[in-house]
């Protein structure tokens, strides 16, 4: 009964949206994203299917305008260097960070990366497309090295290695802190920046949401040092970030980025509808603009590269085992095997989960996205807010609707999920 309702809802949403195409972009799409402002604007408008939300309005008011707007921002320099343990000592001595050893993220020559449509015919497999391979390699560099933002609390934390463990920062054998770089901000000051890898490369695996990173704790420590109350920040817990500024305290799990290329929606509440790879590129581009205080914008080729790379995460996974009948009967209607076991959106009240994030006034759509289940056994805790500690707990609570699942079916489902 509940399931029938879910499926009906899902069908209604599906009929309203185009199939996601983030995983297979054409060279023409790259060229249009890079060169055609009107195309970028159209893509943004199509992606923001809830234009009434503040999240959408703040982008619609300034991106891809016919005259003026963020297109006219100066381009953010891509010169960065890893932030290391030695840099922390520099900061601890009260000295300024240097950028002498910083390198530009080099963009390969144009025809190579725009996939010149007049060039030789290519294999249909995007993995075999030389331009695609170039984009992805460049995107991997962007993911690791281009700072999405700098923050006062990050500079503070970076100077205090004794607190890094508490904040869940990881340091590699040569002293580099994962996800942190040195860069010159919009005002020319050399400071510490957080890259995509800072949040989305847990255990060093690119694309895995970092479950140890405790940004709430980091910010709370900084706030406390300045005599401010930060109880709410400390309550986020590891692996979770409150991405909105509304009064409601609703931290969400940092998601995995595997199979985002086949996802029809982005973010837990599905506030962004994917209408092509350009949707990803624009989401990242606008995220960088906001992260850099709206004073610089990233070089667009780096954003296309990042989108190409992110869309490729997880696609090398071996084929999934065949689902057991219990999965086909109870789960596949939402977790579509043809879409990496992910799917569209489900109304929050039809799920046995907390609805705060779905109802957030800034970016809540009333829905939650059906996430991909590939590799799910590595990703505990589960759900948009990390509320389910294990797969067993999730199924014991009768996900999705609360209806009990008979023990034998549960065991079969668990075995399947663990092999997925």
């Amino acid at each position: 009964m509940a399931r029938a309702l879910h499926l009906a809802l899902r069908a209604a949403l599906l009929s309203a949206c185009a199939p996601p195409t983030g995983d297979a972009a054409t060279p023409e799409e790259a060229a249009r994203y890079l060169e055609d402002r009107a195309f970028r604007r159209e893509t943004l408008e199509a992606a923001l299917w809830r234009p009434d939300l503040p999240y959408s309005r703040s982008l619609l008011s300034s991106y891809g305008l016919p005259d003026g707007g963020w297109d006219r921002l100066p381009v953010q320099a891509s010169r960065t260097a890893p932030f290391t343990r030695a840099d922390a000592d520099v900061l601890a001595r009260g000295e300024a960070l240097a950028l002498d050893d910083a390198r530009e993220i080099a963009v390969p020559s144009a025809p190579e990366v725009t996939g010149d449509p007049a060039g030789p015919a290519r294999e249909p497999d995007p993995g075999a497309d030389p331009a695609e391979a170039t984009w992805r390699a460049l995107g991997a560099t962007v993911f690791d090295r281009l700072p999405m933002r700098g923050d006062a609390w990050l500079d503070w934390l970076a100077a205090r290695p004794a607190l890094w463990n508490d904040a869940g920062l990881s340091v590699d054998a040569v002293g580099r802190v994962r996800g942190l770089v040195r860069f010159a901000d919009a005002r020319g000051r050399v400071r510490v920046g957080l890259t995509c890898a800072g949040c989305h490369a847990g255990d060093g695996v690119p694309g895995r949401g970092d479950r140890r990173l405790n940004l709430g704790r980091a910010r709370a420590l900084y706030a406390a040092a300045r005599g401010l109350d930060a109880t709410a920040l400390d309550a986020w817990g590891p692996g979770r970030v409150d991405v909105t500024d509304t009064d409601s305290d609703d931290p969400t799990a940092i998601p995995d980025l595997f199979h985002v290329g086949t996802a029809g929606w982005l973010n837990h509440s599905g506030v962004v509808r994917v209408v092509g790879r350009a949707t990803l590129a624009i989401r990242f581009e606008t995220q960088f603009v906001q992260g850099h205080l709206m004073q610089t914008r990233p070089e667009r080729r780096l954003m296309w590269a990042l989108a190409s790379y992110v869309a490729s995460l997880g696609i090398e996974a071996p084929p999934a085992p065949a689902p057991p009948p219990a999965f086909t009967a109870r789960c596949a209607g939402c977790h579509d095997p043809a879409r990496a076991y992910g799917g569209d959106l489900v109304a929050a009240e039809d799920l046995g989960v907390d609805a705060a994030v779905a109802r957030d006034p800034e970016r809540g759509t009333g829905h939650y996205k059906i996430p991909s289940l590939r590799g799910v056994s590595d990703n505990a805790p589960y759900l948009h807010d990390g509320a389910a500690p294990t797969l067993d707990a999730l199924l014991a609570a009768g996900h999705p609707s609360g209806e009990a699942i008979p023990p034998a079916e549960r065991a079969a489902l668990l075995a399947f999920l663990n092999a997925l």
């Binding site: 503040p54 309005r57 703040s58 008011s61 300034s62 305008l65 016919p66 005259d67 003026g68 707007g69 963020w70 006219r72 921002l73 100066p74 999405m148 933002r149 923050d151 006062a152 609390w153 500079d155 005002r187 020319g188 000051r189 910010r219 900084y222 706030a223 300045r226 005599g227 401010l228 970030v241 409150d242 991405v243 909105t244 500024d245 509304t246 009064d247 973010n267 995220q287 603009v289 906001q290 992260g291 205080l293 709206m294 004073q295 006034p361 800034e362």
Partner: protein, 207 residues
């Protein structure tokens, strides 16, 4: 977006310029800036302003730095007084967690016949959803590239400037469609107005 090249009549505010400014694209019509003034247009004495970006700041952890919250010039700084909002442009300041002064970046084009310097904020008006307005305090203007006070701008040239100001105190659960009407002056009498698209507070975590 709304892009305005409205002329301003700011003459009475200046001892030096008893004239109002004509907009070449606007058939010489004038928009009264509320300061009174004569209607005699002076040819080419206009700044064309184009919106680039802007936000209303983030005063989450420094509400005292927002406009109209006891942060008027000369008022004592709060405990978190080295916040960005209180930080004069060009000075090195450390901001606290969610504390960033509001700003608008705009491209200014000198449509006059001579070089212009001494760029200054005449007025910043926040227009709320319901049409009510609020005057905001300007904090300064810098060249977006050099972060320094803007150098002289030759006739016909354009440059991107950043205008810092005290944003409104924010109700985080009610982000409306507020926008700014911003009036800049330069040299003796050149002036221009910009009406921005809707502006929002700066998100603390943008994802």
């Amino acid at each position: 977006m709304k892009r305005l090249m409205t002329t301003l009549s700011l003459a009475l505010l200046s001892a030096l310029t008893p004239a109002c400014i004509a907009d070449p694209d606007d058939g010489g019509a004038t928009a009264d800036a509320g300061s009174g003034g004569t209607e005699a247009p002076v040819n080419g004495a206009a700044l064309t302003l184009t919106f680039v970006s802007g936000h209303l700041g983030n005063y989450w952890d420094c509400p005292g730095e927002a406009n109209g919250a006891g942060a008027a010039a000369g008022a004592p700084r709060e405990a978190a007084g080295d916040a960005a909002g209180a930080c004069p442009p060009g000075e090195e300041c450390v901001s606290i967690i969610n504390c960033e002064a509001a700003m608008v970046m705009l491209e200014v084009e000198n449509e006059t016949d001579g070089a212009l310097s001494d760029f200054r904020i005449e007025r910043i008006v926040l227009v709320n959803d319901d049409g009510t307005t609020e005057d905001l305090e300007g904090l300064g203007i810098v060249d977006a590239e050099t972060q320094a006070p803007p150098a002289a701008l030759p006739a016909g040239a354009s440059r991107t400037l950043r205008v810092d100001f005290r944003g409104p105190a924010r109700d985080p659960n009610d982000d409306g469609n507020r926008f700014l009407r911003l009036e800049l002056r330069a040299g003796e009498s050149a002036a221009g107005t910009l009406e921005t698209p809707p502006l929002f507070s700066l998100p603390a975590v943008a994802t």
